[in-house]
Protein backbone atom coordinates (compact mmCIF):
# COMPACT_ATOMS: atom_id res chain seq x y z
CA UNK A 1 0.00 0.00 0.00
CA UNK A 2 1.56 3.30 -1.00
CA UNK A 3 1.34 6.20 1.33
CA UNK A 4 -1.28 8.38 -0.24
CA UNK A 5 -0.59 12.07 -0.49
CA UNK A 6 -2.88 14.27 1.53
CA UNK A 7 -6.06 14.59 -0.41
CA UNK A 8 -7.02 17.66 -2.35
CA UNK A 9 -10.49 18.70 -3.39
CA UNK A 10 -9.82 17.61 -6.91
CA UNK A 11 -12.42 16.56 -9.38
CA UNK A 12 -10.21 13.76 -10.64
CA UNK A 13 -10.32 12.03 -7.34
CA UNK A 14 -12.24 8.78 -7.52
CA UNK A 15 -14.27 8.54 -4.34
CA UNK A 16 -17.26 10.77 -3.88
CA UNK A 17 -16.70 13.74 -1.71
CA UNK A 18 -19.50 14.62 0.61
CA UNK A 19 -20.98 18.06 0.46
CA UNK A 20 -21.24 18.33 4.21
CA UNK A 21 -20.22 21.75 5.48
CA UNK A 22 -17.87 20.40 8.12
CA UNK A 23 -15.93 18.31 5.69
CA UNK A 24 -15.48 21.25 3.39
CA UNK A 25 -13.50 22.93 6.09
CA UNK A 26 -9.83 22.97 5.24
CA UNK A 27 -7.63 20.69 7.20
CA UNK A 28 -5.71 23.56 8.64
CA UNK A 29 -8.82 24.89 10.32
CA UNK A 30 -9.52 21.63 12.04
CA UNK A 31 -5.94 21.42 13.20
CA UNK A 32 -5.94 24.98 14.44
CA UNK A 33 -9.18 24.57 16.33
CA UNK A 34 -7.95 21.46 18.03
CA UNK A 35 -4.57 22.93 18.88
CA UNK A 36 -6.04 26.07 20.42
CA UNK A 37 -8.61 24.14 22.40
CA UNK A 38 -5.94 21.76 23.61
CA UNK A 39 -3.63 24.55 24.65
CA UNK A 40 -6.29 26.40 26.57
CA UNK A 41 -7.68 23.37 28.33
CA UNK A 42 -4.21 22.04 29.10
CA UNK A 43 -3.18 25.26 30.77
CA UNK A 44 -6.29 25.18 32.92
CA UNK A 45 -5.77 21.51 33.64
CA UNK A 46 -2.14 21.91 34.58
CA UNK A 47 -2.94 24.81 36.88
CA UNK A 48 -5.57 22.69 38.63
CA UNK A 49 -3.21 19.72 38.81
CA UNK A 50 -0.56 21.84 40.45
CA UNK A 51 -2.92 22.63 43.29
CA UNK A 52 -3.30 19.00 44.24
CA UNK A 53 -1.21 17.93 47.21
CA UNK A 54 -0.23 14.43 46.35
CA UNK A 55 0.30 12.02 49.21
CA UNK A 56 2.14 10.60 51.07
CA UNK A 57 3.30 13.89 52.51
CA UNK A 58 6.45 15.24 54.04
CA UNK A 59 7.18 13.29 57.15
CA UNK A 60 10.35 11.87 55.60
CA UNK A 61 12.58 12.92 52.77
CA UNK A 62 11.56 9.83 50.87
CA UNK A 63 7.90 10.69 51.23
CA UNK A 64 8.59 14.20 49.99
CA UNK A 65 10.36 12.82 46.92
CA UNK A 66 7.52 10.46 46.20
CA UNK A 67 4.97 13.23 46.57
CA UNK A 68 6.79 15.47 44.15
CA UNK A 69 7.20 12.67 41.60
CA UNK A 70 3.51 11.85 41.82
CA UNK A 71 2.71 15.52 41.36
CA UNK A 72 4.98 15.72 38.35
CA UNK A 73 3.34 12.74 36.75
CA UNK A 74 -0.11 14.14 37.40
CA UNK A 75 0.88 17.41 35.78
CA UNK A 76 2.44 15.68 32.77
CA UNK A 77 -0.48 13.35 32.22
CA UNK A 78 -3.11 16.10 32.32
CA UNK A 79 -2.39 17.53 28.84
CA UNK A 80 -2.12 14.00 27.42
CA UNK A 81 -5.52 12.99 28.73
CA UNK A 82 -7.09 16.27 27.68
CA UNK A 83 -5.61 15.88 24.21
CA UNK A 84 -6.94 12.38 23.66
CA UNK A 85 -10.41 13.15 24.94
CA UNK A 86 -10.58 16.35 22.95
CA UNK A 87 -9.51 14.59 19.77
CA UNK A 88 -12.11 11.86 20.13
CA UNK A 89 -14.93 14.26 20.91
CA UNK A 90 -13.96 16.64 18.12
CA UNK A 91 -13.72 13.85 15.56
CA UNK A 92 -17.05 12.44 16.54
CA UNK A 93 -18.71 15.81 16.02
CA UNK A 94 -16.72 17.18 13.11
CA UNK A 95 -16.25 14.07 11.01
CA UNK A 96 -19.66 12.47 11.26
CA UNK A 97 -21.09 10.55 8.39
CA UNK A 98 -23.99 12.28 6.69
CA UNK A 99 -26.95 10.17 7.75
CA UNK A 100 -28.07 7.77 5.07
CA UNK A 101 -25.05 8.20 2.86
CA UNK A 102 -22.45 5.55 2.34
CA UNK A 103 -19.68 7.85 1.22
CA UNK A 104 -16.16 6.79 1.95
CA UNK A 105 -13.58 8.87 3.66
CA UNK A 106 -10.36 9.86 1.93
CA UNK A 107 -7.99 7.03 1.37
CA UNK A 108 -5.01 7.92 3.50
CA UNK A 109 -2.97 5.02 4.69
CA UNK A 110 -0.35 6.85 6.64
CA UNK A 111 2.09 9.70 6.85
CA UNK A 112 5.58 8.62 7.62
CA UNK A 113 6.62 11.89 9.15
CA UNK A 114 3.70 11.94 11.56
CA UNK A 115 4.32 8.35 12.57
CA UNK A 116 7.98 9.03 13.32
CA UNK A 117 7.16 12.26 15.09
CA UNK A 118 4.67 10.59 17.39
CA UNK A 119 7.02 7.73 18.16
CA UNK A 120 9.92 10.06 18.90
CA UNK A 121 7.88 12.41 21.07
CA UNK A 122 6.39 9.60 23.15
CA UNK A 123 9.81 8.03 23.45
CA UNK A 124 11.27 11.32 24.67
CA UNK A 125 8.58 11.78 27.29
CA UNK A 126 8.99 8.23 28.46
CA UNK A 127 12.75 8.33 28.63
CA UNK A 128 12.65 11.61 30.52
CA UNK A 129 10.38 10.10 33.13
CA UNK A 130 12.57 7.04 33.34
CA UNK A 131 15.60 9.26 33.69
CA UNK A 132 14.05 11.15 36.56
CA UNK A 133 13.16 7.91 38.29
CA UNK A 134 16.57 6.37 37.76
CA UNK A 135 18.23 9.52 38.99
CA UNK A 136 16.21 9.25 42.16
CA UNK A 137 17.25 5.66 42.59
CA UNK A 138 20.89 6.42 41.90
CA UNK A 139 20.95 9.06 44.59
CA UNK A 140 19.81 6.53 47.12
CA UNK A 141 23.08 4.67 46.71
CA UNK A 142 24.97 7.67 47.98
CA UNK A 143 25.89 6.83 51.53
CA UNK A 144 26.06 10.37 52.71
CA UNK A 145 22.65 11.42 51.67
CA UNK A 146 19.41 9.53 51.74
CA UNK A 147 17.74 12.33 49.97
CA UNK A 148 15.84 10.26 47.46
CA UNK A 149 13.41 7.45 47.84
CA UNK A 150 14.84 4.07 47.16
CA UNK A 151 12.29 1.58 48.24
CA UNK A 152 13.50 -1.74 49.37
CA UNK A 153 17.02 -2.69 48.49
CA UNK A 154 16.98 -6.38 49.15
CA UNK A 155 19.92 -7.36 51.27
CA UNK A 156 22.16 -4.58 50.09
CA UNK A 157 22.95 -1.86 52.57
CA UNK A 158 23.94 1.62 51.57
CA UNK A 159 27.48 2.55 52.37
CA UNK A 160 29.41 0.93 55.16
CA UNK A 161 28.97 3.07 58.22
CA UNK A 162 26.09 1.97 60.40
CA UNK A 163 26.74 4.42 63.19
CA UNK A 164 24.81 7.33 61.72
CA UNK A 165 21.59 5.43 61.34
CA UNK A 166 19.04 3.81 63.57
CA UNK A 167 18.41 0.18 62.76
CA UNK A 168 14.89 -1.08 63.21
CA UNK A 169 13.82 -4.61 62.43
CA UNK A 170 10.24 -5.05 61.32
CA UNK A 171 9.02 -8.56 61.96
CA UNK A 172 5.86 -9.41 60.09
CA UNK A 173 3.90 -12.35 61.42
CA UNK A 174 0.40 -13.48 60.78
CA UNK A 175 -1.24 -11.02 61.54
CA UNK A 176 0.64 -8.22 63.25
CA UNK A 177 3.91 -6.33 62.94
CA UNK A 178 6.38 -6.14 65.79
CA UNK A 179 9.52 -4.07 65.80
CA UNK A 180 12.92 -4.76 67.30
CA UNK A 181 15.69 -2.29 67.98
CA UNK A 182 19.00 -4.16 67.66
CA UNK A 183 20.90 -1.16 68.88
CA UNK A 184 18.98 -1.32 72.15
CA UNK A 185 19.44 -4.91 73.12
CA UNK A 186 16.96 -6.25 70.63
CA UNK A 187 14.02 -4.81 72.56
CA UNK A 188 10.73 -5.61 70.87
CA UNK A 189 7.65 -3.44 70.63
CA UNK A 190 4.19 -3.60 69.12
CA UNK A 191 4.26 0.03 68.00
CA UNK A 192 6.84 1.74 65.86
CA UNK A 193 8.37 4.84 67.42
CA UNK A 194 11.11 6.71 65.61
CA UNK A 195 13.20 9.79 66.37
CA UNK A 196 12.93 12.83 64.12
CA UNK A 197 15.82 14.02 61.93
CA UNK A 198 17.37 10.58 61.88
CA UNK A 199 18.38 8.12 59.19
CA UNK A 200 16.41 4.94 59.76
CA UNK A 201 17.50 1.62 58.31
CA UNK A 202 14.60 -0.82 58.26
CA UNK A 203 15.25 -4.54 58.13
CA UNK A 204 12.02 -6.14 57.12
CA UNK A 205 11.47 -9.85 57.49
CA UNK A 206 8.71 -12.33 58.10
CA UNK A 207 8.33 -15.45 60.16
CA UNK A 208 5.68 -17.11 58.05
CA UNK A 209 4.21 -15.89 54.76
CA UNK A 210 4.84 -12.85 52.58
CA UNK A 211 3.66 -9.58 54.08
CA UNK A 212 4.54 -6.02 53.17
CA UNK A 213 5.49 -3.26 55.56
CA UNK A 214 3.82 -0.08 54.34
CA UNK A 215 4.35 2.95 56.54
CA UNK A 216 2.17 5.37 54.64
CA UNK A 217 3.22 8.80 55.83
CA UNK A 218 6.85 7.71 55.92
CA UNK A 219 6.72 6.75 52.26
CA UNK A 220 8.19 3.33 53.00
CA UNK A 221 7.07 0.03 51.57
CA UNK A 222 9.08 -3.16 51.71
CA UNK A 223 7.88 -6.72 51.34
CA UNK A 224 8.47 -9.03 54.25
CA UNK A 225 9.60 -12.32 52.80
CA UNK A 226 10.24 -15.27 55.07
CA UNK A 227 13.90 -16.06 55.44
CA UNK A 228 14.93 -12.77 53.85
CA UNK A 229 16.26 -9.50 55.19
CA UNK A 230 14.79 -6.72 53.06
CA UNK A 231 16.44 -3.39 53.78
CA UNK A 232 14.96 0.03 53.17
CA UNK A 233 15.72 3.54 54.35
CA UNK A 234 13.92 6.63 55.50
CA UNK A 235 15.09 9.95 56.85
CA UNK A 236 12.54 11.45 59.19
CA UNK A 237 12.07 15.18 58.89
CA UNK A 238 9.05 16.04 61.01
CA UNK A 239 7.22 14.65 64.00
CA UNK A 240 3.77 13.25 63.81
CA UNK A 241 1.92 10.00 63.72
CA UNK A 242 1.77 7.51 60.90
CA UNK A 243 -0.13 4.38 59.99
CA UNK A 244 1.45 1.06 59.21
CA UNK A 245 -0.49 -1.34 57.03
CA UNK A 246 0.24 -4.70 55.52
CA UNK A 247 0.23 -4.35 51.74
CA UNK A 248 0.57 -7.97 50.64
CA UNK A 249 -2.23 -10.46 51.04
CA UNK A 250 -1.33 -12.70 53.93
CA UNK A 251 -4.52 -14.49 54.87
CA UNK A 252 -7.74 -13.99 56.75
CA UNK A 253 -6.78 -10.97 58.84
CA UNK A 254 -4.77 -9.14 56.19
CA UNK A 255 -7.18 -6.22 56.29
CA UNK A 256 -6.88 -6.00 60.04
CA UNK A 257 -3.10 -6.01 60.00
CA UNK A 258 -2.59 -2.34 60.60
CA UNK A 259 -1.43 -0.03 63.36
CA UNK A 260 -2.45 3.61 63.54
CA UNK A 261 -0.17 4.38 66.46
CA UNK A 262 3.17 4.73 64.76
CA UNK A 263 4.91 7.91 65.88
CA UNK A 264 7.85 10.07 64.97
CA UNK A 265 8.90 11.88 68.14
CA UNK A 266 11.71 14.14 69.22
CA UNK A 267 15.07 12.53 69.91
CA UNK A 268 14.71 13.03 73.64
CA UNK A 269 11.30 11.44 73.75
CA UNK A 270 12.59 8.56 71.72
CA UNK A 271 15.47 7.93 74.10
CA UNK A 272 13.06 7.88 77.04
CA UNK A 273 10.66 5.57 75.28
CA UNK A 274 13.23 3.04 74.23
CA UNK A 275 14.77 2.96 77.70
CA UNK A 276 11.33 2.21 79.13
CA UNK A 277 10.89 -0.51 76.57
CA UNK A 278 14.14 -2.18 77.45
CA UNK A 279 13.44 -2.15 81.14
CA UNK A 280 9.95 -3.53 80.69
CA UNK A 281 11.32 -6.56 78.90
CA UNK A 282 13.88 -7.71 81.40
CA UNK A 283 11.82 -10.76 82.28
CA UNK A 284 11.38 -12.24 78.84
CA UNK A 285 14.04 -14.11 77.01
CA UNK A 286 13.77 -12.85 73.50
CA UNK A 287 15.66 -14.83 70.92
CA UNK A 288 18.90 -13.22 69.84
CA UNK A 289 18.47 -10.59 67.21
CA UNK A 290 19.07 -12.00 63.74
CA UNK A 291 18.42 -10.59 60.29
CA UNK A 292 16.30 -13.56 59.32
CA UNK A 293 14.42 -16.09 61.33
CA UNK A 294 13.82 -19.61 60.11
CA UNK A 295 11.02 -21.06 62.14
CA UNK A 296 10.21 -24.65 61.55
CA UNK A 297 7.50 -24.82 58.96
CA UNK A 298 5.88 -27.83 60.53
CA UNK A 299 4.33 -27.60 63.92
CA UNK A 300 2.96 -29.82 66.64
CA UNK A 301 1.10 -32.83 65.44
CA UNK A 302 2.57 -33.06 61.95
Amino acid sequence: MATAAPCRRSATWAASWSSSKELNTPERTHTLRLAVAWAVLSVIGVVVAMQVNMPPGHQTQQAADESSLLSLMLILSTPVCIGVVLFILYSVFAFRRVPGSLDDGPSRRGNLRMQWAWTIVTALIVFTLAGIGINGLANSSNASTFSSSGGSLGTQTVGTSASDRLQVQVIAQQWYFTYRYPGYGGAESTHLVLPVNANIEFHVTSTDVIHSFWAYELGVKADANPGTDNITYATTTSTGSFTVRCAELCGIWHGNMFDTQGKVVSQGDFATWVADLQSSETGITLPPYAPEYFPSPRVKGT
Partner: protein, 242 residues
Protein backbone atom coordinates in the same frame (compact mmCIF):
# COMPACT_ATOMS: atom_id res chain seq x y z
CA UNK B 1 -23.85 -6.15 -1.41
CA UNK B 2 -25.17 -9.65 -1.38
CA UNK B 3 -28.76 -10.24 -0.42
CA UNK B 4 -29.88 -12.55 2.30
CA UNK B 5 -29.45 -16.13 1.17
CA UNK B 6 -29.98 -19.68 2.09
CA UNK B 7 -32.29 -21.01 4.73
CA UNK B 8 -30.62 -22.07 7.92
CA UNK B 9 -29.04 -25.45 8.22
CA UNK B 10 -31.57 -26.47 10.81
CA UNK B 11 -34.79 -27.75 9.41
CA UNK B 12 -37.43 -25.40 10.65
CA UNK B 13 -40.53 -26.08 8.69
CA UNK B 14 -42.52 -24.85 11.63
CA UNK B 15 -41.96 -21.54 13.39
CA UNK B 16 -39.29 -21.59 16.07
CA UNK B 17 -40.58 -22.85 19.37
CA UNK B 18 -40.33 -19.73 21.50
CA UNK B 19 -42.34 -21.33 24.22
CA UNK B 20 -39.81 -24.11 24.62
CA UNK B 21 -36.95 -21.65 24.61
CA UNK B 22 -38.61 -19.52 27.24
CA UNK B 23 -39.03 -22.57 29.43
CA UNK B 24 -35.37 -23.48 29.01
CA UNK B 25 -34.34 -19.96 29.85
CA UNK B 26 -36.47 -19.90 32.99
CA UNK B 27 -35.11 -23.26 34.06
CA UNK B 28 -31.51 -22.15 33.55
CA UNK B 29 -32.04 -18.93 35.49
CA UNK B 30 -33.86 -20.80 38.26
CA UNK B 31 -31.02 -23.32 38.56
CA UNK B 32 -28.53 -20.50 38.77
CA UNK B 33 -30.52 -18.75 41.47
CA UNK B 34 -30.83 -21.94 43.47
CA UNK B 35 -27.10 -22.59 43.28
CA UNK B 36 -26.38 -19.02 44.30
CA UNK B 37 -28.72 -19.27 47.24
CA UNK B 38 -27.13 -22.50 48.41
CA UNK B 39 -23.65 -21.05 47.94
CA UNK B 40 -24.61 -17.96 49.88
CA UNK B 41 -26.25 -19.75 52.77
CA UNK B 42 -23.83 -22.64 53.16
CA UNK B 43 -20.55 -20.95 52.35
CA UNK B 44 -20.68 -17.19 52.49
CA UNK B 45 -22.92 -16.25 55.38
CA UNK B 46 -21.44 -18.56 57.97
CA UNK B 47 -20.75 -16.31 60.92
CA UNK B 48 -20.35 -17.83 64.36
CA UNK B 49 -23.07 -16.67 66.68
CA UNK B 50 -22.47 -13.68 68.93
CA UNK B 51 -21.89 -14.23 72.62
CA UNK B 52 -22.90 -11.28 74.75
CA UNK B 53 -20.91 -10.81 77.89
CA UNK B 54 -22.76 -11.12 81.22
CA UNK B 55 -22.57 -8.61 84.00
CA UNK B 56 -19.99 -9.75 86.55
CA UNK B 57 -21.43 -10.92 89.86
CA UNK B 58 -18.02 -10.55 91.55
CA UNK B 59 -16.07 -7.77 89.84
CA UNK B 60 -12.32 -8.33 89.68
CA UNK B 61 -11.37 -4.76 89.08
CA UNK B 62 -12.16 -2.22 91.73
CA UNK B 63 -13.82 0.61 89.82
CA UNK B 64 -13.87 3.03 92.76
CA UNK B 65 -17.02 4.84 91.91
CA UNK B 66 -16.24 5.41 88.26
CA UNK B 67 -19.68 4.12 87.41
CA UNK B 68 -18.45 1.73 84.76
CA UNK B 69 -19.63 -1.82 84.36
CA UNK B 70 -17.65 -5.02 84.38
CA UNK B 71 -18.83 -7.93 82.27
CA UNK B 72 -17.54 -11.47 82.02
CA UNK B 73 -16.97 -13.85 79.13
CA UNK B 74 -16.36 -17.55 79.70
CA UNK B 75 -14.36 -19.34 77.04
CA UNK B 76 -12.77 -22.73 76.55
CA UNK B 77 -9.77 -23.60 74.38
CA UNK B 78 -9.40 -27.19 73.27
CA UNK B 79 -6.90 -29.21 71.29
CA UNK B 80 -9.71 -30.81 69.36
CA UNK B 81 -13.37 -29.93 69.37
CA UNK B 82 -14.36 -33.51 70.04
CA UNK B 83 -12.72 -33.30 73.47
CA UNK B 84 -14.62 -30.19 74.60
CA UNK B 85 -15.91 -30.27 78.15
CA UNK B 86 -17.67 -26.95 78.87
CA UNK B 87 -19.07 -26.18 75.43
CA UNK B 88 -19.40 -29.28 73.27
CA UNK B 89 -19.98 -28.67 69.58
CA UNK B 90 -21.02 -31.96 68.01
CA UNK B 91 -22.28 -30.33 64.80
CA UNK B 92 -19.01 -28.72 63.89
CA UNK B 93 -17.55 -30.24 60.69
CA UNK B 94 -13.96 -30.03 61.93
CA UNK B 95 -13.94 -32.13 65.07
CA UNK B 96 -10.15 -32.47 65.16
CA UNK B 97 -9.37 -28.76 64.95
CA UNK B 98 -8.15 -26.62 67.82
CA UNK B 99 -10.71 -24.05 68.73
CA UNK B 100 -11.96 -21.41 71.08
CA UNK B 101 -15.41 -22.38 72.31
CA UNK B 102 -18.33 -21.70 72.29
CA UNK B 103 -17.93 -19.02 69.64
CA UNK B 104 -15.54 -16.32 68.50
CA UNK B 105 -17.74 -13.23 68.23
CA UNK B 106 -18.26 -11.39 71.49
CA UNK B 107 -20.34 -8.34 72.28
CA UNK B 108 -19.41 -6.11 75.17
CA UNK B 109 -20.67 -2.71 76.29
CA UNK B 110 -18.64 0.38 75.45
CA UNK B 111 -16.52 2.15 78.07
CA UNK B 112 -16.46 -0.81 80.40
CA UNK B 113 -14.15 -3.42 81.84
CA UNK B 114 -14.23 -6.88 80.32
CA UNK B 115 -13.09 -9.92 82.28
CA UNK B 116 -12.29 -13.06 80.34
CA UNK B 117 -12.12 -16.49 81.98
CA UNK B 118 -10.58 -19.15 79.77
CA UNK B 119 -10.57 -22.90 80.51
CA UNK B 120 -7.46 -23.96 78.63
CA UNK B 121 -7.34 -27.70 77.90
CA UNK B 122 -4.81 -27.95 75.08
CA UNK B 123 -1.21 -29.09 75.43
CA UNK B 124 1.65 -26.71 74.73
CA UNK B 125 2.66 -25.66 71.20
CA UNK B 126 5.22 -23.05 72.08
CA UNK B 127 5.47 -19.48 70.88
CA UNK B 128 7.15 -18.71 67.61
CA UNK B 129 7.85 -15.22 68.86
CA UNK B 130 8.67 -15.33 72.58
CA UNK B 131 7.69 -11.67 72.79
CA UNK B 132 4.10 -12.83 73.20
CA UNK B 133 4.87 -14.57 76.46
CA UNK B 134 4.55 -11.21 78.20
CA UNK B 135 1.03 -10.10 78.98
CA UNK B 136 0.23 -6.61 77.71
CA UNK B 137 -2.71 -4.27 77.79
CA UNK B 138 -4.51 -5.89 80.74
CA UNK B 139 -5.45 -4.40 84.09
CA UNK B 140 -2.99 -5.76 86.60
CA UNK B 141 -1.65 -9.31 86.30
CA UNK B 142 -3.52 -12.31 84.97
CA UNK B 143 -4.63 -15.02 87.36
CA UNK B 144 -3.93 -18.70 86.70
CA UNK B 145 -5.15 -21.92 88.27
CA UNK B 146 -2.88 -24.41 86.59
CA UNK B 147 -0.87 -27.63 86.76
CA UNK B 148 2.87 -27.12 86.90
CA UNK B 149 5.42 -29.29 85.08
CA UNK B 150 5.28 -31.93 87.78
CA UNK B 151 1.54 -32.23 87.49
CA UNK B 152 0.77 -30.44 90.79
CA UNK B 153 -2.06 -27.93 90.93
CA UNK B 154 -0.90 -24.33 91.49
CA UNK B 155 -2.49 -20.92 91.53
CA UNK B 156 -1.14 -17.42 91.27
CA UNK B 157 -0.90 -14.04 89.57
CA UNK B 158 1.48 -13.61 86.64
CA UNK B 159 2.62 -10.91 84.27
CA UNK B 160 4.34 -13.29 81.86
CA UNK B 161 5.18 -16.91 81.25
CA UNK B 162 8.89 -17.48 81.66
CA UNK B 163 9.27 -20.43 79.32
CA UNK B 164 8.22 -19.54 75.78
CA UNK B 165 7.70 -23.18 74.89
CA UNK B 166 4.88 -23.67 77.39
CA UNK B 167 1.96 -21.61 76.05
CA UNK B 168 -0.70 -23.45 74.11
CA UNK B 169 -2.47 -20.39 72.78
CA UNK B 170 -2.65 -16.66 73.27
CA UNK B 171 -5.53 -14.24 73.32
CA UNK B 172 -4.66 -11.04 71.48
CA UNK B 173 -6.64 -7.96 70.50
CA UNK B 174 -4.00 -5.98 68.55
CA UNK B 175 -6.11 -2.85 68.14
CA UNK B 176 -6.55 -2.59 71.91
CA UNK B 177 -3.01 -3.71 72.69
CA UNK B 178 -4.21 -6.72 74.69
CA UNK B 179 -2.01 -9.82 74.54
CA UNK B 180 -2.23 -12.69 77.05
CA UNK B 181 -0.40 -16.03 76.86
CA UNK B 182 -2.38 -19.12 77.83
CA UNK B 183 -0.40 -21.86 79.50
CA UNK B 184 -0.56 -25.35 78.00
CA UNK B 185 -1.41 -28.45 79.98
CA UNK B 186 1.84 -30.07 81.04
CA UNK B 187 2.50 -33.68 80.16
CA UNK B 188 2.61 -34.69 83.79
CA UNK B 189 -0.86 -33.39 84.55
CA UNK B 190 -3.71 -35.90 84.82
CA UNK B 191 -5.88 -36.41 81.78
CA UNK B 192 -8.75 -33.97 81.39
CA UNK B 193 -6.98 -31.24 83.38
CA UNK B 194 -7.86 -27.60 82.86
CA UNK B 195 -5.69 -24.52 83.27
CA UNK B 196 -7.95 -21.58 84.04
CA UNK B 197 -6.68 -18.13 83.14
CA UNK B 198 -8.52 -14.95 84.10
CA UNK B 199 -7.68 -11.42 83.00
CA UNK B 200 -9.42 -8.05 82.56
CA UNK B 201 -9.04 -5.16 80.17
CA UNK B 202 -10.78 -1.91 79.36
CA UNK B 203 -12.68 -1.14 76.21
CA UNK B 204 -13.39 2.36 75.06
CA UNK B 205 -15.66 3.66 72.37
CA UNK B 206 -17.83 1.56 70.12
CA UNK B 207 -16.29 -0.31 67.23
CA UNK B 208 -15.47 -3.74 65.90
CA UNK B 209 -12.05 -5.16 66.70
CA UNK B 210 -10.55 -8.41 65.64
CA UNK B 211 -8.89 -10.78 68.06
CA UNK B 212 -6.79 -13.84 67.33
CA UNK B 213 -4.45 -16.39 68.79
CA UNK B 214 -0.81 -15.70 68.01
CA UNK B 215 0.44 -19.25 68.42
CA UNK B 216 0.75 -21.11 65.11
CA UNK B 217 -1.44 -23.94 66.30
CA UNK B 218 -2.95 -25.04 63.00
CA UNK B 219 -1.19 -28.36 62.96
CA UNK B 220 -0.49 -29.94 59.60
CA UNK B 221 -0.27 -26.62 57.79
CA UNK B 222 2.81 -24.76 56.64
CA UNK B 223 4.03 -22.47 59.44
CA UNK B 224 1.04 -23.59 61.45
CA UNK B 225 -1.22 -20.76 60.41
CA UNK B 226 -3.60 -22.59 58.14
CA UNK B 227 -6.68 -24.58 58.94
CA UNK B 228 -8.31 -23.33 62.15
CA UNK B 229 -6.11 -20.23 62.16
CA UNK B 230 -7.40 -19.17 58.73
CA UNK B 231 -11.06 -19.97 59.27
CA UNK B 232 -13.37 -17.68 61.15
CA UNK B 233 -14.89 -19.28 64.18
CA UNK B 234 -11.98 -21.24 65.58
CA UNK B 235 -8.89 -19.29 66.53
CA UNK B 236 -9.87 -15.74 65.75
CA UNK B 237 -12.94 -13.56 65.63
CA UNK B 238 -14.48 -10.23 66.46
CA UNK B 239 -14.97 -8.18 69.58
CA UNK B 240 -17.97 -5.97 69.01
CA UNK B 241 -18.06 -3.01 71.37
CA UNK B 242 -21.43 -1.30 71.55
Amino acid sequence: MRAVTLPRNVSDSSSPKYGNRAVVLVLVVATLVVFLAVFFARFVETFPYTLTSEVASQPRVVLAGTGGTETVIHLETVGSISSAIDFPKPNDPNQDWVSYLPTTTFKVPANSVVTVVIDQEDSASGLRNPFWSKAQGIIGPFHMKYFDQNGNPQEGDFTQLDDASTPAHTFGIPDLGVFVPLLGISDAAPAGSINQITFSFRVGKAGTYHWQCFVPCGSGTIYGNGGPMQTLGYMGGFLVVQ
